[in-house]
């Protein structure tokens, strides 16, 4: 065993350090105890953004349940979430009884002292907190055209269906069309100078000031810091024209430029 430079030769090397860290985790805020309804809704969400939930720790929030809602079937719920690839780690809110039931399922009881309240509609759409959701393991692969700066990424060729481009830590600019089924992701802003027909997700690490700019909006999905809109919820008058997309409080706004 080599001796540590600052430690004495006879004191053993520490096996760990104890530290505190803050993580942003997606929260699923239950509004009822009907697990079938939860399953249906989760299925839809996971279909929309399968990678957001794969191996992602998730917290179950019970504070939105109506009083006297009754017992939650935790074994069913936990099994359901694991089935969708999530890792339920704990609960917050709820009654003593619910806490006991959760503890029986080895879920942690988390305090909610310094957690910001999130409106129920958006609760399950928080982005994946993992540092780099790179498509390495997926069959789809990214277009390789890096800009000069590490914090920026420039793509000049069309982004095709099945391709994903991620700009970690910065902005993503695409000077070409983005096809249906293609995915753009950036920790900062996204600029598209061409038709945007695929998905665009800005503020992947939770930057609520990130924006998406595009010349011709035909997107399947738009998201800023996890607040998203699918094509159905994008008004017709902003389709096919230059727009910017940004967060105003908890509302994702799409505005003509």
């Amino acid at each position: 065993m080599t001796s540590h430079p600052t430690a004495g030769a006879d004191s053993p090397k520490p096996a760990f350090e104890l530290k505190a860290a803050t993580f942003t985790l997606p929260v699923i805020r239950l509004l009822g105890i009907d697990m079938d309804a939860v399953a249906d809704q989760l299925g839809v969400k996971v279909d929309q953004a399968p990678d957001f939930f794969r191996n992602t720790p998730v917290v179950i929030d019970l504070s939105g349940l109506p009083p006297g809602a009754g017992q939650i079937e935790f074994p069913l719920l936990v099994g359901l979430m694991r089935g969708f690839g999530m890792i339920p780690v704990g609960i917050r809110g709820g009654t003593e009884e619910q806490h006991a039931a959760a503890e029986a399922m080895e879920l942690a009881i988390l305090g909610d002292a310094f957690v910001r309240r999130t409106p129920p509609r958006e609760a399950a759409s928080q982005p994946d907190p993992r540092p780099a959701p790179r498509p390495a393991a997926s069959p789809a692969s990214a277009v390789a055209e890096e800009g000069v700066h590490a914090s920026q990424r420039l793509v000049t060729r069309p982004v095709r269906s099945g391709q994903r481009v991620y700009a970690p830590g910065g902005d993503l600019s695409v000077v070409a069309p983005v096809s249906h089924g293609a995915e753009l992701m950036a920790d900062g802003n996204i600029h598209v100078y061409g038709p945007l027909r695929g998905r665009a997700m800005a503020g992947m690490k939770g930057d609520i000031s990130a924006r998406i700019f595009c010349q011709d909006l035909q997107a399947e999905l738009l998201s800023v810091a996890g607040h998203y809109r699918i094509s159905e919820n994008i008004p017709d008058e902003v389709k096919g024209v230059p727009v910017q997309i940004f967060l105003d409080g908890d509302v994702l706004r799409v505005e003509k430029l």
Binding site: A140, V143, R160, S179, G181, A182, G194
Partner: protein, 256 residues
């Protein structure tokens, strides 16, 4: 979809212009290029035999009876598609490229192993699509794979040159809104068209009789393929057969 028909037609077109051309069937297990080329009764050795070293390339190549510059390398019907190894395919293509000007690789459908092998070493790719949404979407996916999973992409070389060929185009059905128009396809895929092949009985007849449709110079499809070969070789030709044909002698006056 028309990939094999197109491979046969383009290969014949290139060979007719005097370029030594080989056309390889990558659809192991479902071989039909030799049928369309009309040489299925002359197959002795195949692509997989050559990869496995059971035959040399000259034994397996079948010379076309109509055109001296054209050779066919048929696929095996009895082997598994995994018989196509990346190294093996690379060796065969390397050897062919010493004596041939053009090597046309006829890809199987889908984005599986066979298709990957057919495109991996490519310099140019012709993506064949039909004027319908699902086909165009698949082509878009294929174009994405071309730009990220080829040897050129892995080596960071200049990307594969992409060409788009639209087959089974029926202007009457476009007018009725049953098919995507040329402009729709061009806009969705943001690629220029190498050619538009009209929906034609000539294509089916040609396949059934083992004559590449490009040899049927009377047919609109044959002429459209002929134009496509010209464009590929750098000629500037206007697209034909995009409008609904008028009845009677008037259409002949207008040149079809």
């Amino acid at each position: 979809m028309g990939k094999t028909t197109t491979s046969a037609a383009l290969a014949m077109g290139l060979a007719q212009r005097g370029h030594r051309t080989a056309v390889i069937d990558f659809d192991v297990g479902l071989r039909n290029l030799d049928l369309i080329m009309g040489c299925e009764r002359r197959v002795v050795y195949d692509f997989v035999n050559v990869i496995n070293g059971e035959a040399n390339i000259n034994q397996a190549l079948i010379r076309d009876k109509r055109c001296d510059a054209l050779y066919v390398l048929p696929a095996s019907q009895t082997r598994d598609k995994d018989a196509l190894t990346k190294d093996g395919v690379g060796r065969v293509l390397e050897e062919l490229s010493k004596t041939f000007d053009y090597i046309v690789c006829d890809s199987p459908a889908g984005i599986e192993h066979g298709a990957h092998m057919a495109m991996y070493y490519a310099d140019d790719a012709v993506v064949v699509t039909n004027p319908e949404v699902s086909s165009v979407r698949d082509s878009d996916r294929m174009l994405g794979i071309l730009s990220s999973k080829s040897r050129r992409a892995e080596r960071n070389e200049a990307p594969i040159r992409e060409y788009l060929l639209l087959t089974r185009y029926a202007p009457e059905r476009v007018a009725k809104g049953e098919m995507l128009s040329v402009n729709d396809v061009r806009e969705i895929l943001s690629l220029d068209l190498l050619g538009v092949i009209p929906e034609s009985k000539a294509v089916l007849n040609a396949s059934n009789s083992g004559v590449p449709v490009i040899l049927d110079t009377e047919s609109d499809a044959g002429q459209a393929y002929h134009d496509a070969v010209g464009r590929y070789l750098g000629e500037d030709l206007p697209h034909r057969f995009l409008e609904i044909k008028k009845k009677g002698f008037f259409s002949r006056l207008m040149g079809g």
